[in-house]
């Protein structure tokens, strides 16, 4: 059965790769006696949080030691999934928001991210270049600062301690930190070691383990991120190695071109109500997919819930009902003809892109590599095309209407099995506003072998959803 979404690859933006890597390097904690803090005032809870953070600094090696660190070079193995080969990442970071990451992919060669302290640009000869957006840049500039643990109060004006939690038989202290943009992070600290062992920001969770001390500084040598399941293993970390200023130099023309493309994506984000999309917590969509040439009509019900949960039921008369889902941990498919199976690799990545309630609002994040294609006329008006790609490969060519800035056409491929794909052209029409978010109610999907029409029948946002619906249906 076809899953009607683009290959969205892995959402490997700042939330995952660099930020997690860098926070991993300095993951730690700061000791204090758990108090429970149930009746504490805001100030008292902030004091408690600060005390824990102070202990974190001590656990990392102490303020004096951290102050002395000017640069870090880290050699990391990255594994996106158990099925994919290990890839190499070399990170060079210095203060002032300057960093350079060299990531070697087997398929696309080196991906280099350079920040000169003002802008950060990702570069790849095959996939294209992409300017890091402001939020992402801020986060990475922060996390790449070797002295970041000493500046927590500056980065997070609001800090408070939350009630402790139990995890795997261990009590963890919980901190809620709100940065200057109002974005909340939740940190989980080990009261014994003082180190940070878990981190949550948005729908991304990182777990830190294998702490080791190098040159007097303690670092997590293993980081795992969820829901993508990416594992980072540090091989070597060195401090204060002299670095070449050219490592952090950016070409002005490249930055300018990348900024223009970013603007197109920013306008699209605004035009479809990106901010409103991010406020939606659950959604129930009823759709039909018609294959007119073959007289087939498929009824589809899709339920999404943040963070990244999905249930989809597709009924094909004469063929049966096909279920798919993601419960936050397992992507699965089940139907009468083929039984039950777990989705992995590209199939899982595609499912996750469907699970993401942000939808097209998440394009900027999902596609950090971009190439300008040109302009063409489409039935809805002139459109500008950008080739978009994620870390695991090209997503396709996205054509944006130049007047309303919405997505008009996508030339991409649909993953139809573990090793199967179909090249498709998707045309989006009949945009309607639902709870301030613009959605295409009609999508025409064409391939030389088939033509499909996907019609959104109804959309309900922020409904009550019982999580059991996302549970894998292992029973046939």
């Amino acid at each position: 059965m076809f899953k009607l979404k683009f290959i969205s690859t892995r959402r490997l933006s700042h939330w995952i790769l660099p930020a997690i890597l860098i926070t991993a390097l300095l993951g730690g904690g700061c000791a204090m006696t758990p108090t429970g803090g149930g009746r504490a005032t805001n100030q008292a809870r902030q004091n408690e949080a600060d005390a824990i953070l102070e202990r974190w600094v001590e656990a990392l090696g102490g303020a004096e030691k951290l102050k002395s660190v000017k640069t870090m070079i880290t050699d990391v193995d990255v594994r996106f999934s158990p099925e994919t080969p290990t890839m190499k990442l070399l990170a060079k970071e210095t203060g002032g928001g300057r960093f350079r990451w060299e990531f070697i992919t087997p398929a696309f060669g080196p991906i280099i991210t350079i920040s000169d302290g003002k802008h950060a640009l990702r570069k790849n000869a095959l996939l294209g270049n992409g300017l890091m957006d402001t939020q992402e840049f801020k986060l990475n500039a922060r996390d790449s600062d070797p002295q970041y643990p000493l500046k927590i109060a500056n980065y997070f004006p609001t800090r408070r301690r939350l009630p402790d939690v139990e995890a795997d038989g261990t009590t963890l202290q919980v901190l809620e930190l709100v940065d200057r943009d109002g974005i909340t992070e939740t940190w989980f600290m080990d009261p014994v070691s003082g180190l940070r062992v878990k981190y949550q920001r948005g729908n991304i969770t990182s777990r830190y383990s294998d702490f080791r001390t190098v040159d007097g500084l303690t670092t997590a040598f293993m980081v795992e991120t969820l829901p993508a399941g990416i594992k980072f293993t540090i091989n070597k970390i060195t401090f204060d190695t002299p670095s070449d200023p050219a490592d952090f130099h950016l070409d002005k023309q490249e930055v300018k071109t990348a900024a223009l493309i970013s603007k197109i994506l920013d306008r699209h984000y605004e035009a479809i109500g990106g901010e409103a999309a991010e406020q939606i917590k659950t959604r129930r969509s009823i759709m039909t997919t018609d294959i007119p040439a073959q007289g087939v009509k498929i009824n589809v019900e899709m339920i999404q819930k943040r963070p990244m949960k999905l249930f989809m039921e597709q009924t094909i008369p004469g063929m049966g009902t096909f279920f798919q889902g993601y419960d936050g941990q397992t992507g699965w498919a089940s139907n009468e003809l083929q039984g039950y199976r777990e989705l992995k690799g590209q199939e899982l990545a595609q499912l996750l892109s469907s699970a993401d309630l942000g939808g097209d609002a998440g394009l900027r994040e999902a596609c950090p590599f971009r190439q300008y294609v040109g302009k063409k006329k489409l039935p809805g008006g002139p459109a500008v095309g950008i080739k978009l790609a994620g870390y695991s490969g090209p997503n396709g060519v996205y054509w944006f209407n130049q007047k309303n800035h919405r997505l008009a056409q996508v030339e991409s491929a649909i993953i139809t099995g573990p090793t199967s794909y179909l090249t498709m052209t998707m045309e989006m029409e009949d945009y309607r506003q639902v709870d301030d978010v613009w959605l295409p109610f009609l999508t025409r999907i064409e391939n030389p072998s088939m033509k499909l029409i996907m019609t959104l029948q109804s959309v309900e946002n922020n409904i009550e959803v019982d999580d059991t619906i996302f549970t894998p249906r292992t029973d046939d």
């Binding site: 040439a293 094909i316 004469g318 083929q338 039950y340 199967s420």
Partner: protein
């Protein structure tokens, strides 16, 4: 232009077969000229846009249009248009390109009288179409048809003549046998109440002419899948002294529950025979679904290559998949999905294949409704086995070639099943092997 004289003659001889010409009348159609032209465009364009190979395997599809389009004016009614269009499709030299008449397409229970049965099944063996099974109380039974009888003529058409024409076209023996079976079976599945005169040769050599009347199918029917019509389904499953036997007449989703239920009843010390003889195929997803119950390991059944994209038919192992030996039986009537399943299991080393080379008619196809109301069946991809072998025009070669002769059929012997049973006896775990 590839269309040979032999092919022309063959076309004239067999075009009526899928069309059931004896029962189809040329009803007047309003605005026929426009409908005819639209239908032609639909057929040519659909193939032009969707044929898996943009080079059309060396066939000049544009030139073929130039040949056939001017002849449209000669098609004064729908049967003659079908003849013309089928001729154009035959230029591709591939299976799964056919015009299915609307009169033979069943979509509702009320239409089931359009496809009847004379209560007999056939197989091609030794180049002859032979009766293999007769339903008691059916028209065939009442008319005295017997297992082992050879069908010489159907509705006045000589089977041997058609066989010679097939041979002249250069098709493989297996596919020729497959077509011959269809040549005989199709007119005998006309609308309920249709009389068809059949000339048969008995085991004793006597030739007689009988009339068979098409009756209603009494069993279950598949559900239509979009433009793919409904058809009668049959299912047989049994356990017999350590050997489980499974046979079904098509890969129809409606059978999946029964198949799965049966596969779940298999004991680990049993062997399984999957009898795909005479099974012309169906939904390819079912093949991978069935194999999921027969393997603890993931493997591919084959690869479908379209003009823009590929699909691999993966087998997803199911919990408690049957671990015992599996024998798959095939013959020249095993086509399409049957061949995919047999070849996939064979190449994966999960089954031993017994019988005769399969039809070599294995292209994934779709159905398009035409302006005339007929259906165009058209292949949308080519298909190769996991090791890259083509099945189309080649078929699956059995590991153990065994034929069922006319004498075997007449006397109720089945050497193919026997060979499979013998192998299973040696391959299945013995009580002493059990932990």
């Amino acid at each position: 232009m590839r269309l040979s004289t032999a092919f022309h003659k063959l076309l004239r001889a067999i075009t009526w077969v899928p069309l059931a010409a004896s029962v189809l009348t040329a009803e007047p159609v309003e605005n026929w000229s426009k409908v005819r032209s639209e239908t032609f465009t639909q057929v040519w364009t659909t193939v032009n846009e969707s044929y898996h190979d943009p080079e059309f395997g060396g066939v000049d599809w544009v030139a073929i249009k130039a040949v056939y389009q001017p002849r449209l004016v000669e098609a004064e009614d729908n049967p003659s248009l079908r003849y013309l269009l089928q001729g154009m499709l035959n230029e591709l030299g591939q299976t799964h390109f056919a015009i299915v008449p609307k009169e033979a397409a069943v979509f509702t229970p009320e239409e089931r009288n359009l496809v009847g049965t004379v209560g007999a099944t056939f197989a091609t063996t030794g180049g002859e179409v032979v009766v293999t099974n007769i339903e008691s109380g059916s028209s065939s039974s009442e008319a005295g048809l017997r297992n082992g009888d050879i069908i010489r003529r159907v509705d006045g058409r000589d089977v041997d003549e058609v066989a010679k024409l097939y041979a002249e076209t250069g098709v493989t023996e297996a596919r020729k046998d497959f077509y011959l079976n269809q040549f005989v079976s199709s007119p005998l599945s006309g609308p309920v109440g249709t009389d068809v005169e059949v000339e048969v040769e008995g085991v004793d050599g006597t030739v007689r002419t009988i009339t068979l009347k098409s009756g209603m199918h009494t069993g279950e029917w598949s559900e239509p899948l979009g433009n793919m019509p409904s058809f009668p389904v049959e299912f047989e499953a049994k356990h017999d002294n350590g050997v489980a036997y499974l046979k079904f007449n098509s890969f129809s989703p409606i059978l999946m529950k029964d198949i799965r239920r049966f596969l779940k009843t298999l004991e680990s010390n049993e062997g399984l025979v999957v009898d795909l003889r005479g099974n012309p195929g169906g939904l390819i997803l079912m093949a991978s679904g069935i194999c999921g119950w027969l393997s603890a390991d993931e493997f591919s059944l084959g690869r479908m290559r379209m003009r823009a994209g590929v699909m691999n038919f993966e087998v997803y192992p199911q919990k408690n998949a049957f671990p015992g030996p599996v024998a798959v039986l095939i013959d020249n009537g095993s086509a399409s999905t049957s061949e995919v399943l047999a070849a996939g299991l064979q190449e994966a080393g999960r089954a031993r294949v017994f019988g005769e080379t399969s039809a070599g008619a294995a292209l994934p196809s779709a159905f398009l409704k035409l302006a005339t109301g007929d259906l165009l069946q058209y292949a949308i991809a080519d298909l190769t086995t996991p090791k890259g072998a083509n099945l189309e025009g080649v078929g699956v070669k059995p590991d153990e070639p065994v034929s069922r002769s006319r004498d075997d059929i007449a006397s109720g012997r089945d050497p193919v099943v026997n060979a499979a049973r013998t192998w299973i006896e040696t391959a299945r775990p013995k009580p002493a092997d059990q932990p």
